[in-house]
């Protein structure tokens, strides 16, 4: 028997708040997070049978607190040494003052804690999805196709790293927040990308990570409403997610942007994304996510591929090259230049990348060149590069697409 969608949403929403309360009360983030995870699983099991409690947050706090006390008691029994937790346990005045311990900033603190720069991205992702996202270890393991025990270990190690770093469980100062926000946004961005990438093919009941990332970013935005980078990231996610239904055909084949059926694009997500982007850009600063969102917006605003304002995209890539240069940005810039100034220009720009080891062997380099060779009429070179790209890509849908392009050209 399963929990209905509304209750599940509520449960996930409460999770980080409860982690906040328990951490604050018992002063041990790692154990608190474990205790809350157990309370969550208990809720998933019991609530469908017994009904949703009148005070769901109180219920979770109570169950998690009991876990903490049980742990503490066996800890005391083992060590025979008083700890702060033990003192709490012994306190006769211990009552579950449910609302008193809540701090509205708890979810934000949790986000900064879980996305700590000392963590590897895979552990930050796992911990964030559990502690802030309220997902179960099993769900996260399933989403990334690793065993539950492995995912549990990733999360446990992540918390050990946090403990070792000595970072206190409090809201970072405004200055610290600015320094550490990029790490938070990066984790959310990675979760979205993972989700979007896997939105193809046989859905073996995998969690919709893209939706999770959007939900977490919305949450972050509500906690940092004036931050243009957060708003920009949310805009980018919505403007990209909007195209999801059109990116694969009936046979699960990949459909490039210029050939997608735009009637399948989610207009609601696009208009929300555009609105958010306008807000973000109005704040004056132009950061990485706002720029990427702006590029996505130019694509999404075009009713037909032919209507796309490529000169604007080119200008945006020129800006992006300055703000956040990378081989992929250079590659995308060359694509835009090819559209605006002709494929020969694009090929010329790509020749400059030949000597960059980070990109020279990358499949996208070959696939873009193949596309441009086709446009200038050099069929042989196009076929050769499509085949090379097909060999190098590690994505099966991409490989299929590239092989099919080579085959198509061979027949023409």
């Amino acid at each position: 028997m399963n929990l209905d969608a509304t209750s599940e949403t509520l449960l996930r929403h409460l999770a980080p708040q409860v982690v906040g309360v328990i951490t604050r009360r018992f002063r041990d983030f790692a154990s608190a997070e474990d205790a809350v995870q157990e309370a969550m699983i208990a809720a998933f099991t019991q609530w469908p049978k017994e009904g949703i409690p009148e005070n769901p947050r109180g219920w979770l706090i109570q169950v998690a607190s009991r876990r903490m006390l049980d742990q503490a008691r066996s800890e005391i029994a083992r060590r025979e040494r008083e700890t702060a937790v033990a003192a709490e346990a012994e306190s006769a005045a211990f009552t579950l003052e449910i609302e008193a311990d809540m701090d509205p900033d708890d979810t934000l603190i949790l986000l900064f804690t879980c996305c700590h720069p000392a963590l590897t991205t895979s552990s930050a992702i796992a911990l964030t999805l559990r502690a802030v996202g309220g997902l179960t270890t099993a769900e996260i393991g399933n989403a990334f196709l690793v065993p539950e025990a492995t995912m549990a270990q990733r999360i446990s190690r992540a918390k050990q790293t946090i403990k070792a770093s000595g970072v206190p469980f409090r809201l970072p100062s405004p200055h610290e927040r600015m320094e550490r926000l990029p790490a938070v946004l990066h984790v959310l961005y990675l979760i979205f990308n993972e989700g979007y990438a896997s939105s193809i093919g046989v859905h073996l009941q995998r969690l919709d990570l893209a939706r999770e990332a959007i939900r977490l970013t919305r949450n972050t935005k509500s906690l940092l409403p004036d931050n243009p980078e957060v708003t920009g990231l949310l805009a980018l996610m919505l403007l990209t997610d909007a195209r999801r239904a059109a990116r694969t055909g009936p046979d699960e084949e990949l459909i490039p942007l210029d050939r997608q059926d735009r009637t399948l694009w989610d207009r609601g997500e696009i208009s929300e994304g555009l609105e958010l982007l306008t807000t973000a850009l109005s704040k004056g600063s132009v950061g990485l996510y706002q720029l990427q969102a702006a590029i996505a917006a130019v694509h999404d605003e075009a009713e037909k591929a032919e209507d796309t304002d490529w000169p604007q995209i080119l200008a945006l890539y020129e800006l992006l090259k300055r703000v956040a240069p990378s081989p992929m940005v250079t590659l995308n810039h060359a694509i835009a230049a090819a559209v605006v100034q002709g494929p020969a220009k694009g090929l010329e720009l790509l020749r400059a990348l030949d000597s960059d080891p980070r990109i020279a062997g990358h499949y996208r380099f070959d696939s873009v060149r193949a596309h441009l060779f086709e446009q200038i009429g050099d069929r042989e070179a196009a076929i050769q590069h499509y085949r090379m790209a097909a060999r190098r890509t590690t994505s099966i849908p991409e490989r299929n697409y590239l092989m099919t392009q080579a085959a198509r050209l061979t027949e023409e």
Partner: protein, 130 residues
């Protein structure tokens, strides 16, 4: 009962098949259809493709604990291209699935008759491996 079905058809340095587009699409559709069927029958545990052997490495223990990697393989070596792990009721069913995989269409739509190696596996690692 679990079985691993292995498709060993790749050779290093060989390119992607240069089949006509129609035949390529038929092959891709066939594999997709097979996986879908296995999934619907509850027999599919996993189906994985591996990246091309250009990136394959042979690793040996180094002197001081650092691994020694080598990308050179015998000319004749066939590489694992992909594998399926299926959970089926009998060995016969495993061979049946393997036969389907083997008969996937190739150029001209003719069955490829690739050799598919079928090995029984335990549901968990065997005691010796733990």
């Amino acid at each position: 009962m679990k079985y691993i079905l292995m498709m060993n058809t790749m050779k290093a340095g060989h390119g992607v098949p240069g089949w006509p587009k129609k035949d390529l699409q038929a092959h891709i559709a066939f594999m997709r259809g097979l996986n879908k069927e296995l999934h619907q029958r509850g027999e599919l545990v996993s189906a994985e493709g591996l990246s091309f052997p250009d990136q394959a490495k042979l690793v040996k223990a180094g002197k001081d604990g650092t691994p020694v990697t080598d990308g050179v393989f015998a000319e004749s070596k066939e590489f694992l291209a992909g594998f399926w792990i299926v959970d089926v009721d009998s060995p016969e069913r495993a061979y049946e699935v393997a036969a389907k995989v083997s008969a996937a269409p190739g150029p001209g739509g003719a069955p490829l008759n690739m050799p598919i190696e079928v090995r029984p596996i335990m549901s968990g690692p065997p005691p010796e491996m733990l």
